[in-house]
């Protein structure tokens, strides 16, 4: 904060360098391929579905696609910051989504909506700061740090709440949020898009977003440029925590229930969407908008499989294949360019 002005002048050259590096990267073929890749994949898939799958292109069905996408999408949008900062993923979203959902409904029932939201925000900040300090200050591996905070967080949640399921009031504000539509669109869907756009702006237009991308693409240069790198990491994990919190809210409001097991699998599912969208797990490259596309793509694919009557096993296989395929295209494109 104070040293920012002091170090700002001192370190302009390296910072500009990083920026330049980012810019040149943005126009390289691989980037183009990956970006167009997900657009192309999504377009082809949607076209296929519209032509061959009865009922796909109906409004209720598109609502389903977005209802499927909204909670996981908001979580993934927040987690994109962690991935772009070069820290693989945030496994603890599983615990965070469940905690936020339970807190929203349980505390609203007991005290009120506003305390519930404030309390959930406080928890999200704690998650962001704990994960961020362990990864940013202690330079510990994010996979293991967030794995252990998942254990601790879910353990605490279940231990202290006794694992009960919570139901919101049938005419309370949470229910209203979950069922409100604006025109034909559910509120959750609009929230999903608004959050994605906001986070996208944070990533592309703010100083913080720039530092996250810079840190992800070259840690050492960013540190030498005088950036307070631990703060950047803490910030990235806090964005992820806030995304997970909002995702938990949407999930809880959608069904007006909360239980600690409702977010099982959100960790790897969110990561899968981010990767399919074309964000690199090496850090530096990627965007929130791509995550949006990735989430939509996975949701459309799952929707198509359900509409065709395929079971859970085939759905998992398809998602697995897709991840490998999407990234292979990117990797092979880079290889051919290098050669």
């Amino acid at each position: 904060m104070t040293p920012k002005t002091a170090s700002g002048t001192r370190t302009l050259p390296p910072a500009a360098q990083v920026e330049q590096e980012l810019e040149t990267r943005a126009f390289k073929l691989s980037e183009w391929m990956a970006q167009q890749g997900i657009f192309l994949f999504t377009a082809v898939l949607v076209l296929f579905a519209v032509v061959f799958i009865d009922g796909f292109a109906s409004l209720p069905n598109l609502t389903d696609v977005f209802n499927r996408a909204a909670p996981i999408g908001i979580v993934a949008a927040g987690m994109t910051f962690v991935v772009i900062s070069g820290n693989y993923l945030d496994l603890s979203v599983v615990a965070q989504v469940a905690t936020a959902a339970v807190v929203l409904i349980a505390v609203t029932n007991a005290v009120g909506l506003v305390p519930a939201i404030l309390f959930a925000i406080a928890i999200a900040l704690v998650y962001g700061i704990v994960n961020g300090i362990a990864v940013g200050v202690f330079k510990a591996n994010a996979v293991i740090v967030t794995l252990s905070t998942t254990f601790i967080g879910l353990g605490l949640l279940r231990w202290l709440t006794g694992g009960s399921i919570y139901f919101g009031e049938s005419d309370g504000p949470i229910r209203t949020f979950g069922t409100t539509r604006i025109g034909p669109l559910p509120l959750a869907m609009i929230l999903f898009i608004v959050v994605t756009v906001l986070l996208s702006l944070v990533l592309t237009r703010t100083n913080f977003g720039f530092m996250v991308r810079a840190y992800g693409s070259n840690r050492e240069a960013t540190r030498l440029a005088g950036v307070n790198t631990p703060l950047v990491v803490i910030g990235a994990f806090t964005m992820s925590a806030l995304g997970a919190m909002l995702g938990g809210f949407v999930l809880a409001a959608f069904s007006n229930t909360a239980v600690s097991s409702m977010s099982d699998g959100y960790d790897f599912r969110a990561l899968a969407a981010i990767i399919v969208g074309g964000t690199s797990v090496f850090g530096g490259r990627g965007s929130v908008m791509r995550t949006l596309l990735g989430v939509v793509f996975v949701s459309v694919l799952t929707n198509i499989m359900v509409l065709s009557g395929l079971g859970f096993g085939f759905q998992q296989m398809a998602i697995g294949l897709l991840i490998v395929l999407a990234v292979s295209v990117d990797a092979l494109a880079r290889k051919t360019r290098a050669a």
């Binding site: 362990a134 591996n141 294949l321």
Partner: protein
């Protein structure tokens, strides 16, 4: 050091003796400073003291404890080989499930076991193919396999557990063969010894460290990196499949949902054992100690009736402590702290 200096009465005769013991201390210190298992040993000691005081049953019924250690540790051993090269294998649990299901779908037990183990090798080879030939980060390649193989396990099994053809053979497999040792423990010991020798006394295995430490340097030194990565992933795949075979035999049925706790427990064992996730540092010995500590802890907590949520809080805390007390982590934190102080003292004169 202080010992020799403060001791006022070293007769010349004992001098030599003492200096050799001092040399021994120094040598032990040197060895210790090179070892990476320190925290795992510390944890194991704590667990020992804790169990001796509160749950002696952990020791008196040692065969149960050994069984749990073998359950927690086997997959972790294979995983260690991959992590040493700086790669990850997230597909271990799914490999375990799918190989079990494949094994149970054959009428002949022997054919089933062979098919399952072959599956493990193939999965490992496919993982390695994507990592070194296509050039995908192993984190993503094995994440894809995690989903794909789990789905395959459901599809092959028809989304329900599959009983093996010869249930009695399965039950017999769970019985002790040598003293109190069941085939599971024997196979675990064999896997440990084989990997230990391979990674510390065989050239190919020792090159794993070089591949994980600095891949370019390893390449420059003429190490066939691609082949080593294939070997590593195939070891991991094979051992996961072996665990799947053992579990399926012992339970007399294959469960497509099996292994839900395997992935995270294996990582925990390896990390507590001092294996560095970025590669190049660690040992299967450390993983063994890490798995022992975790396994004993679980048995002790189960015996004392501590509910699983609290167990998870304990294990999570231990894991978090293990990563942030890694020497390199503490160094990083110290650097940050120093930077903080420096910038503060710099600011003071100017401001």
């Amino acid at each position: 050091m202080s010992q020799t200096q403060t001791d006022p009465r070293p007769p010349s005769e004992e001098q030599a003796d003492l200096s050799t013991s001092d040399g021994l201390v120094a040598r032990v210190r040197l060895i210790l400073s090179r070892r990476t298992e320190g925290r795992a040993v510390a944890l194991l000691m704590v667990v020992w003291v804790f169990t001796l005081l509160f749950e002696p049953l952990v020791w008196t019924s040692y065969e149960v404890t050994l069984g749990r250690i073998a359950l927690v540790g086997l997959v972790a051993l294979g995983l260690t080989a991959v992590i040493l090269m700086g790669e990850l294998d997230l597909a271990v649990a799914s490999t375990l499930a799918v190989s079990g299901v494949i094994m149970a779908s054959f009428d002949s037990l022997a054919v089933g076991v062979l098919a399952a183990l072959a599956t493990g090798l193939i999965v490992g080879a496919v993982n390695a193919f994507f990592v070194v030939v296509v050039g995908i980060n192993s984190f993503i390649a094995t994440l894809g396999m995690l989903f794909f193989l789990r789905g395959a396990a459901f599809v092959i099994s028809g989304e329900a557990p599959v009983r093996i053809a010869d249930v009695d053979a399965g039950i017999a497999f769970g019985q002790p063969v040598i003293g109190p040792l069941t085939p599971r423990m024997l196979l675990f010991i064999v896997a440990f010894v084989a990997l230990y020798i391979f990674l510390s006394h065989v050239r190919v295995g020792r090159e794993f460290y070089a591949v994980g430490g600095n891949r370019q340097a390893a390449r420059d030194a003429g190490i066939p990196v691609v082949r080593r990565v294939f070997t590593g992933f195939m070891i991991s795949g094979f051992i996961s499949a072996l665990a799947g075979v053992i579990n399926t035999l012992e339970r007399t049925a294959a469960d497509p949902t099996a292994g839900s706790t395997v992935l995270l427990a294996s990582f925990a064992a390896a990390i507590i054992g001092g294996v560095l996730l970025n590669g190049g540092r660690g040992s299967v010995f450390g993983t063994l100690i890490g798995a022992s500590a975790l396994g004993m802890l679980q048995v002790a907590l189960t015996l004392s009736g501590v509910q699983v949520d609290v167990q998870n809080i304990v294990i999570g805390s231990v894991l978090l402590l293990a990563v942030i007390t890694d020497p390199s982590s503490l160094r990083a934190a110290a650097v940050t702290a120093r930077g903080l102080f420096r910038s503060r003292s710099e600011r003071q004169p100017t401001g």
